[in-house]
Every structure is written in structure tokens, then in C-alpha cells.
């Protein structure tokens, strides 16, 4: 549903050179022009949908503010039409409605009324306005004694507590100190989240990219660009160097991540890591396929196959089958996680009543640090395959530390929760990174599960 419809709008201003009869006569006698026509907007059309956040951009004098004034109704177009749906309010030079002789309190009510609020609405939001403006101590002081910062804050606080369907912002994001600016920006984002329509004029490209979805660039009163905000920013201010373009791309990527929910962020981060460190590794469709592919890589490798974190034995059975029941061992305390892992997996999770029966595999029950050293002493064979399903950093580190000396070229390791969940950098991933840098082991990434958490590595040098 459209919220603002600007249809073929033009706006001219007449600059009069002569004001008095004397001046007019003198200029007429000298055959000088009496006035000059200046076109501020020339056949501009645009539609803003309900809930959209539109950036109005352009150099000084390009007509942005004029367009904003047409939308707010302060000015009328000379040609074309402007139509809006619902109440329009705006931050167009805050403080316009503040009266120096009135106190802060009186000004709050007056300014709110100017912006279209009723007495009851103002009273209901009064405390919020005062808290936002941070001038509690000066409410009964006349506004003329305020510092310019306080003055701005008061005007802004009232404006952002109105209840418009359409909110116009004109180059005022630069008021106040940084914390206050941040607060204002947050409030504007809230407006957006509440489904209000926003039109923002600013020269601060960073802010516009954070708040707006679409951008319109005006050039001498005409629409020069209309499209996604990033395109609009690049159109108005093309990156000067490839380096700057790259920086911009990165900043946008990060900003996109920051805006996503934590799960999506983690997944996107994993994807970035994949592109960075294993761009050519096979993408496997699900965890089971990853495990089977890893086992196929280890097929020619003689030695033991170990799984850390057996739980109900489902994956251990797969390993046992692939290794034909030879030298397959599963490690687990069966008492669940020894400490809290990620959200939703507190200590004790994954506990089972009794160890499962897994055909072709031998279970070693107990904490890894208690059981692993003795086990390795009794089993001198090389390690061909490891499935690390230990989840926790501490457990993965224990496993890697003890197994390290027994790894050989060709050993395949599958990490079951390597990345892609909130906090992944603190667990198996971290344990592996630390182990690699401490031991100097060389390896290849051999595959990962697309959109999931498993990663396969194969040792290539000790």
C-alpha cells in the first residue's frame, strides 16, 4: 500500500532582484531582469510504500529539502501532485516550535501540540519525552537559558514521541553528542520497525545505509538514481579506489550480519569462513553424508577409528559398519555434557540412562581425560579416523592433546560442531586452531556440511 505518492512534481522559485518601487524603476530603465526563475524540482515522481524507509540524497541545492517540504505540506507544488496517507510529522529543523520565553515544560506541551498531539497524548508520553531529552533538572527554566545542545535535545525528544504514520527527517541526525545521536538513531529505527513510513534526508551515507532500504538521488531537481540504498550511495559517491570499494563491501557485509538474528549471523559467518579457507572443499548436503564421505576418505588408511561423544550410538554404528567392525572405539561418559555448552545445551545434556549397544564397536565409558591416556597406552595402533563429537572446547582440547602424537599423514578427522552456531568460535573450532598452531600439523579441509556444522580435515604432514 502506498504511503506517499509524488506524481510529476515541479517547483519553481522566483528570486526577485528588486523589492522597492525605486529599485524596480531603476532596473527597468537599465533593462535588467527584475526576477529570475529557479527550478528546484523538475518533474519528479516517486512512490513510497507503507513502512518503507526511503533515503533522499543529493548534493546541496539538488532539491531534497524542497521535496520534503512538499511532502510535509509546508509548500505546494507548481505542477503535479503530492498525496500522503495519514499524519505526517517530521524532524525538519527541530526546535522550530520552541519558544524562548516559555519553560521547558510549557514548550513540551506547545511543541507537541504543534506536531499534532492532543493534550491527553502529550500527558501520556510526557515522562518518556523528559527522560529522552535528559533535561529533567531544567524543566522549569525558560528555554532561552538552555545551551544549544539542550535546546536541540528538547526539540528532538518531542518530535520523536509523536505518533505519525509518516515521519520525515531532514539532516538533523547530526545534533547532539554521539550518545544522543545514537539514541535518536535507535528511535528512528524503532519507528521503522513499527511499520511507519520514513523519508530521510542526510549526507551521512553510513547512517542512511543502516536505516534505509531504498535511495533516491536528486540532481538539480531531477531524479538521477532510484534503487537499493547501496547502489544509491555508490551512485552519489562512487568509491575512489578499488581498496575503498572493497572496504565498503566489507563494511556492508558486516552491517548485514549485525542486523541478522544470532543463528543467521553464525551461519553467515561460517559461510564467510568457508569462502576464505576452503573455497573448493566439497559441499555435503547433510551430516550423515559428511560422515560417510569422511569415512570413504579414510577407507585405505589402516588403524583405529575413534568417536568421542557416542550419546545413543547412531553415528558410531555408521563408523563401525564402514570400518567393518575392526578397531572401532566409542568414548563417552554417558553422563551428558560435563559443563554448559551453547544455549539450550546446559551441563548434563546428552546424558543416557545406560550405554547403548553398538555392533562392531567397543565402548570406553568415562571422562576423556580419565580414560584416553590409559587407552592409548594399551592400543599402540595408528589412528586412521576420528569423529570429534565432543561439542565443548575443553573436551575437544583434551582429545586433540592426547591424540596429537598418534595422528599420521592421511588421518581423517570429522568435527561434528565445528562452526555455524552462536558462539562456535569458542568451541571445537578454537580447540582445533590452537592444536594446529601448537603442533604445527599440516592438513587440508576435505569437506563440510552445507548450512550445518560439520567439517572434515585430513592430515597432510606432521
Amino acid at each position: 500500500m502506498e504511503s506517499i505518492v509524488v506524481d510529476g512534481v515541479s517547483k519553481h522559485f522566483t528570486l526577485r532582484h528588486a523589492h522597492s518601487i525605486k529599485e524596480i524603476t531603476v532596473r527597468a530603465v537599465r533593462r535588467q531582469s527584475l526576477s529570475e526563475r529557479f527550478t528546484a524540482l523538475d518533474d519528479v515522481s516517486l512512490t513510497v510504500a507503507q513502512g518503507e524507509s526511503l533515503a533522499l540524497m543529493g548534493l546541496n541545492g539538488s532539491g531534497k529539502s524542497t521535496l520534503l517540504k512538499l511532502i510535509s505540506g509546508v509548500m505546494q507544488p507548481d505542477a503535479g501532485s503530492v498525496r500522503v496517507r495519514g499524519r505526517v510529522a517530521g524532524l525538519i529543523e527541530v526546535g522550530a516550535g520552541l519558544h524562548p520565553d516559555l519553560t521547558g515544560r510549557e514548550n513540551i506541551f506547545l511543541n507537541a501540540a504543534i506536531l499534532g498531539m492532543t493534550k491527553a497524548e502529550t500527558e501520556a508520553r510526557y515522562d518518556e519525552i523528559v527522560a529522552f531529552s535528559e533535561i529533567e533538572d531544567f524543566l522549569d527554566t525558560q528555554v532561552k537559558f538552555y545551551s544549544s545542545g539542550m535546546f536541540m535535545r528538547l526539540g528532538f525528544a518531542v518530535a520523536v514521541h509523536t505518533d505519525p504514520e509518516i515521519f520525515l527527517v531532514d539532516e538533523v541526525l547530526a545534533v547532539g553528542d554521539p550518545p544522543f545521536q545514537k539514541k535518536c538513531l535507535e528511535r528512528i529505527k524503532e519507528f521503522h520497525a513499527e511499520g511507519r513510513t520514513l523519508v530521510i534526508v542526510s549526507h551521512d551515507m553510513g547512517t542512511l545505509e543502516r536505516v534505509c532500504g531504498r535511495g533516491v538521488v536528486l540532481e538539480r531537481g531531477r531524479t538521477a538514481y532510484e534503487g537499493g540504498i547501496e547502489g544509491a550511495v555508490d551512485f552519489l559517491a562512487p568509491p575512489a579506489t578499488p581498496l575503498e570499494a572493497e572496504q565498503r563491501r566489507r563494511a556492508r557485509e558486516e552491517a548485514t550480519l549485525a542486523a541478522l538474528p544470532a543463528d543467521d549471523v553464525a551461519r553467515a559467518e561460517a559461510e564467510l569462513l568457508v569462502r576464505e579457507i576452503m573455497p573448493d572443499a566439497p559441499r555435503l548436503p547433510d551430516p550423515r553424508a559428511t560422515l560417510e564421505y569422511a569415512l570413504s576418505l579414510a577407507a585405505g588408511q589402516d588403524g583405529m577409528a575413534l568417536e568421542f561423544g557416542v550419546h545413543t550410538g547412531g553415528t558410531l554404528a555408521v563408523v563401525a559398519e564402514a570400518r567393518e567392525g575392526k578397531n572401532v572405539f566409542g568414548f563417552d561418559s554417558f553422563a551428558g555434557l560435563p559443563e554448559d555448552w551453547r544455549e539450550g545445551f546446559p551441563a548434563g545434556h546428552f546424558a543416557v540412562d545406560e550405554p547403548p549397544e553398538v555392533l562392531g564397536a567397543e565402548l570406553v565409558a568415562g571422562l576423556f581425560e580419565d580414560t584416553l591416556p590409559g587407552f592409548l597406552a594399551e592400543h599402540p595402533e595408528p589412528v586412521a579416523f576420528v569423529h570429534v563429537d565432543a561439542d565443548l572446547y575443553s573436551s575437544a582440547r583434551t582429545v586433540l592433546t592426547h591424540l596429537g602424537p598418534r595422528l599420521s599423514v592421511g588421518t581423517v578427522i570429522v568435527f561434528d560442531e565445528f562452526f555455524g552456531y552462536p558462539g562456535w568460535r569458542e568451541h571445537e573450532y578454537r580447540a582445533w586452531e590452537e592444536f594446529v598452531s601448537a603442533s604445527g600439523v599440516r592438513f587440508d579441509y576435505e569437506g563440510f556440511t552445507e548450512g550445518n556444522e560439520q567439517v572434515i580435515v585430513r592430515i597432510t604432514g606432521i
Partner: protein, 298 residues
């Protein structure tokens, strides 16, 4: 939730919009009252002092020195009843003429029904008139005034005429003054003429005699302000007139047998009101057209 329709912003509904936003109007009036007397010792007390001085000057010069008190019994009440109305009119004219220009910062940045500014200026003048009206009432009662239907009706009618007329001129001058600041000066000149163009300092019969009852008299009487002042005098001054006399046909007369008021004063008053309202309608139309260009001209 109903979906509001797409409408053109800032087209304005004229004086109707002002009624719709009366809460804001009230705050604007309060703001103007507050700021006018900010830092002044007397505050609203000045609205007693100004008419008092004005009154004293006319009373001594015209009443005593020029002996108008002899021609008009109870001259102070006569003078003051006209003066209350005329001051209200002239003050409204000055303040409304500058009301839009004076609120330029607001007009340029926020869309409000622009009629709010002249209307609030007029209401402020109305508030300033109240103390004087109180004094007039007190003086009249002291001089023996008693309420009557004729008096009440005359007060209401006279006040309606002046309010409509002041608003009409206020809207016109406020709008035109945005484009040509000359009109602020024009208003000052009008205000010099107004007190002398109505029977406030002298009786209307002076004009009648000078014009020998010809067309200049008709022009003089056609001025709605003249009717309003005469109505106020009929309401406040005439009932206190202890030398009240009537002509054989029952019409009120001054000493010397002159008519105190023109014939059919009530009808004249009603016609004046109609004319003032028509003018107000025209002024509103002009204002509505011109206000579209306020923001770019200021």
C-alpha cells in the same frame, strides 16, 4: 484500524481547521500572552494603563477643553464605550498583520493551518479588551446602568460586527504582509484614522450637520464600525444618561433636540454584521490562496 485515504498535504481547511485544533490555539494564545509581558513589572496591568491614558487624553482635551462634555451628557461613559471597541479593533489589526511574518520559523518548517496565527492574535487582543470592558461596565453601573434586553443585544451584535471585521482585515493584512511588508505600515495609518472615523469622540450628529444629511452621511453610517460603536453607546451610555429625552415620535434625543442615534440602528447593525461576514468569507478565500506560497516567500 481504518486506512486513511491518500490526500494532498497542506491544502488546509481554513478557519474550520482552526476550530479543529483549538487545543493548539489555546496554547498559542497563552504563549503570546506570556511572551508579551515577559520580564515586565506590570504584566497584564499594562492593558489597564494604556486605555486609561488614552481615555484621560481624550477626556481632558475633547471633553473639557473642547467642551464636548456639555454637548454630550455623561461624556466619560460615551467616550469609553466607543474606545473599548475601537482599541480592540486597532490592536487586532496591528497584531494580526504581523502574525504570520512573526511566526516565520514555524510557517517555514511545520505545516499548520496558517489561520491559527491571525486568529490567536485576535484572541489575545480580546483578552486585552476584557479589563477595559470590566472598567466600562463598572463605570456604567456606577452611573446608574441597569441591564436590559436592548443593551445585551446591542453588546453582542456590536461585538460580533467588530470581531468579524477585525478578523477579515486581519486575515487579509496577515497574508498580504508576507509578500509586501508595506502593509504593516498601511495598518499603522489605518489605525490613525479609525478612532476619528467613528462617533467615539463626537456625536454622529456632527457629521449629519456637516453633511446636511447628504450622501457623505450615508457613507459615514455605512461603515460597519460606526454601527458597532453606536450600538455599544446605546448599550452602555444611553441607559446612564440622566438627561435622556425623547422626540415626539419616541426616538432618543440629545439635549438640543438632536437624534441620539440614527433611525433603525438595530437593522443597520444586522446589515453591518452581514457585510462584515461577507468580507470575512472573501478574506478567508484570499488567505487560503495566498497561504500556499507563504513558506517560500518568508
Amino acid at each position: 484500524m481504518t486506512v486513511p485515504p491518500l490526500v494532498a498535504p497542506g491544502r488546509g481547511g481554513g478557519l474550520h481547521d482552526v476550530v479543529r485544533r483549538r487545543y493548539l490555539l489555546r496554547l498559542l494564545v497563552r504563549r503570546e500572552l506570556r511572551s508579551r509581558y515577559q520580564g515586565s513589572l506590570l504584566g497584564l496591568g499594562w492593558s489597564y494603563v494604556r486605555p486609561a491614558v488614552n481615555f484621560a487624553v481624550y477626556f481632558f482635551v475633547v471633553g473639557i477643553f473642547l467642551k464636548m462634555s456639555k454637548a454630550i451628557p455623561n461624556f466619560p461613559v460615551f467616550l469609553f464605550s466607543g474606545m473599548v471597541l475601537v482599541s480592540f479593533f486597532t490592536e487586532t489589526l496591528i497584531t494580526t498583520a504581523w502574525s504570520v511574518v512573526g511566526n516565520a520559523s514555524l510557517v517555514k518548517k511545520v505545516y499548520l493551518p496558517r489561520e491559527l496565527f491571525p486568529v490567536s492574535s485576535m484572541l489575545v487582543s480580546g483578552v486585552h479588551m476584557l479589563p477595559a470592558l470590566g472598567v466600562l461596565m463598572g463605570g456604567a453601573v456606577w452611573a446608574g446602568w441597569t441591564p436590559s434586553w436592548v443593551a445585551t443585544g446591542s453588546i453582542v451584535l456590536a461585538f460580533a460586527i467588530v470581531a468579524a471585521l477585525a478578523m477579515a482585515f486581519g486575515l487579509l493584512f496577515a497574508a498580504v504582509n508576507v509578500f509586501f511588508r508595506d502593509f504593516g505600515q498601511v495598518v499603522d495609518i489605518i489605525n490613525i484614522v479609525v478612532p476619528w472615523s467613528v462617533p467615539m469622540i463626537y456625536p454622529w450628529t456632527t457629521v449629519q450637520e456637516a453633511a446636511h444629511g447628504g450622501w457623505p452621511l450615508q457613507v459615514y453610517l455605512a461603515n460597519p464600525l460606526t454601527s458597532a460603536v453606536l450600538l455599544f453607546e446605546r448599550a452602555f451610555w444611553w441607559p446612564t444618561n440622566d438627561q435622556a429625552a425623547t422626540l415626539p415620535n419616541g426616538a432618543p434625543a440629545l439635549p438640543g433636540g438632536l437624534l441620539a442615534f440614527p433611525y433603525h440602528l438595530t437593522v443597520r447593525g444586522l446589515v453591518s454584521l452581514l457585510a462584515a461576514l461577507l468580507l470575512l468569507a472573501v478574506a478567508q478565500l484570499v488567505f487560503a490562496r495566498l497561504q500556499r506560497r507563504f513558506a517560500q516567500e518568508l
